[in-house]
Amino acid sequence: MSLEIVVVHPDLLGTYGDGGNGVVLAQRARWRGIGAELVDATSGEPLPTGDLYCLGGGEDAAQTASAERLRDEGALERAVGRGAVVLAVCAGYQILGRSFTGADGRARSGVGLLDVRTVKGAGRRAVGELLAEPADDRLPLLTGFENHGGLTIRGPDAAPLAQVAAGVGNGDGTEGAVLGRVIGTYLHGPALARNPALADLLLSWATGRRLEPLDDVEEAALREERISAVRERRARHRVRHRVRYELGSS
């Protein structure tokens, strides 16, 4: 088989290096002998058919433009209906929800693939390392860098992806949302480079098979460093509540 991996609107949602998620998925498939094609789907063209879709972060005006395009086209919902896998990060995550706040402060309709809505947060932007304990206990700690001003409110049909251990995430102590094979998250880094187990979960959904482990030495070293950095900072700040740490076991 060959996987078609679509990076959605990199011209609009490519601000934070999240295009790297597509690269990570394609390489991890290829390293296992699974063919993978990476397609950059710019906003001017129809969204191609794919097995996996990645949406990244973007600025306010670009986010609104991308959401309108996806809503009008309907191709992403149809793909999900066929069983496609979606990873949406930051602005992309907000787009997949029911509504989000545009640059002008007005609420905009999202694609509605996740039962969440995002409003402007009252305080400062959430900028910094984000560490979260995943709801799916097959996954190790999730690590990344968040940079957003949104407060994301989950509806009854949106299970959280994880519980926040350090950082802000959705704003209510949870991070991200999952519905079926659609995942939304605030993790940049890009997310899959820092969380290869999450990449493999998406790949196993898309291929329908169990995947043999890879030799993730570099990823493990990066995870250990970032998780330790968060822990040391918290220790310095004498934050009381305890966090479970898990170093590098991906």
Binding site: P10, G14, Y16, G19, G20, E59, A62, N147, A193, E218
Partner: protein, 442 residues
């Protein structure tokens, strides 16, 4: 050093600025450009405006090329206007500006590099003769505003400054938008290799279409399009609106430095220099604040380069590829670098395949993962100097024969063959290495 026309309070502030900077340099606390300026501004909040009064002044801003263009412009006007006050080390906020101005006679010309966020305020308060707008792209997203917001703020400030001329990179839609309400803009076709931040039309939120090729122009359906160029770059030449064609021979490498040079020359002409004189002077500059210099590191020669964001990295990878020298890449993520190195995934490191590559710096592990997925075999070495050494050792077989002996015997000789190792670092990785390197002479 005549500060005689200034109020007493200002003279005290100038003296304090100089004294604190001198102390800071002697104490080895830094390059002595920020602490004094801050003290001076505390003593006289209007110090910058007072020191700026009566000077022919140019401000240079943009995401990439600020420091280089500032230096080239200061050099270019030296014949016509004399030695300029300038913040040569890239301290590009008001404290650095105060230090630069306080170190020169009142009335001397000034060429100041300005942080993108401070530009609107300084255009309004200093009333510069010319502002140079280079480009705008993503940089340090964890602490700076979105580039579109910056462009809009520039536009508002420039549209109410009729006495300020602008020299504008017309190939970048965002800066063209910023200058679209400005008085007498000089539109320069300075190129734009990174278009990912420019496809959204700043005028209507539609999409900008770029014509194929390097110099094809751009347009949006709403009618906003590349302005008619007053200055074009054709190969090694610059072509002016009146049809004059001048050869631009530079000691600095790379397409982007040619663009910086032409922008600087165009601004020098606005300030009163002649084109020929400006270009001749610019051509003699062979390094800028250490960038592109060949320095001695652990006994071997390294050509050192600074790249801070995806646009800058793309330009430098164009410069070092193809090639066979080992490449050391240094990545930090301190506040001055931006704390989120996710942008590493916007850089086409795939181009380093086949080279000897060493990853170093505090965020070498982020880089190592990026290189791993780019299919670039590499080593990671924690210490920057050790990394340069390791790269040189590993690359001995692939660089010119006898490289080791040359390096060991004479760094000057090594410098004459343009260095044995290419080092590219982001901001603090670059400055850390430079602090530990020795100049090999020119």
């Amino acid at each position: 050093m005549s500060a005689g026309t200034l109020p007493v309070r200002t003279r005290v502030a100038v003296a304090a600025t100089r004294a604190v900077n001198a102390l800071s340099r002697h104490a080895g606390a830094g390059s002595g450009t920020v602490a004094g300026g801050n003290v001076g501004l505390a003593l006289d909040p209007l110090l910058l405006e007072r020191l700026a009064a009566g000077r022919p002044m140019a401000l240079v801003s943009g995401t990439n090329g600020k420091t280089t263009t500032t230096r080239l412009l200061a050099v270019a006007i030296e014949g016509a206007l004399g030695r300029a006050a300038t913040n040569a080390t890239g301290s590009n906020m008001p404290a650095g500006h105060v230090t630069a101005l306080a170190a020169t006679p009142q009335g001397a010309p000034a060429v100041l590099e300005v942080d993108e966020g401070y530009l609107p305020r300084l255009v309004a308060s200093l009333g510069p003769r010319v502002v140079v707008l280079l480009n705008l792209s993503r940089d340090q997203l964890d602490r700076t505003s979105e580039v579109r917001m910056v462009a809009n703020k520039w536009r508002r400030a420039l549209s109410v400054s009729p006495a300020t001329a602008t020299v504008v990179n017309a190939d970048d839609p965002l800066v063209a938008w910023a200058a679209s309400g400005a008085a007498s803009p000089v539109w320069v076709g300075a190129g734009l290799s990174w278009r990912e931040d420019a496809v959204g039309c700043p005028s209507c939120e539609g999409r900008i279409t770029f014509a194929a090729g390097e110099d094809g122009g751009w347009a949006c359906a709403c009618g906003f399009s590349r302005p008619r160029l007053g200055v074009r770059i054709e190969g090694d030449d610059v072509v002016l609106a009146d049809g004059r064609r001048l050869r631009v021979a530079l000691a600095l490498p790379g397409r982007f430095n040619r663009a910086n040079a032409v922008m600087a020359a165009a601004a020098a002409v606005v300030m009163g220099a002649g084109w020929e004189d400006a270009i001749r002077r610019i051509g003699e500059v062979d390094e800028v604040a250490g960038r592109f210099a060949v320095v001695g590191v652990a006994g071997c020669a390294a050509r050192v380069m600074l790249a801070k964001n995806p646009a800058g990295w793309r330009e430098l990878l164009d410069l070092v590829c193809p090639g066979e020298r080992p490449v050391v890449v240094g990545i930090n993520a301190r506040v001055a670098d931006g704390r989120d190195p996710s942008w590493l995934w916007d850089v086409p490191f795939e181009r380093l395949r086949g080279r000897t590559v060493v990853a170093t710096g505090e965020r070498r592990r982020d880089l190592a993962v990026r290189l791993h997925y780019a299919g670039v075999p590499h080593r990671t070495v924690r210490d920057e100097v050790a990394a340069v050494r390791a790269a040189w050792m590993a690359g001995r077989g692939t660089t010119a024969a006898g490289a080791r002996a040359r390096c060991a015997r004479s760094p000057h000789l090594a410098a004459s063959v343009e260095g044995e190792v290419d080092f590219i670092g982001n901001y603090t990785a670059f400055t850390d290495l430079m602090a530990r390197a020795t100049r090999t002479g020119t």
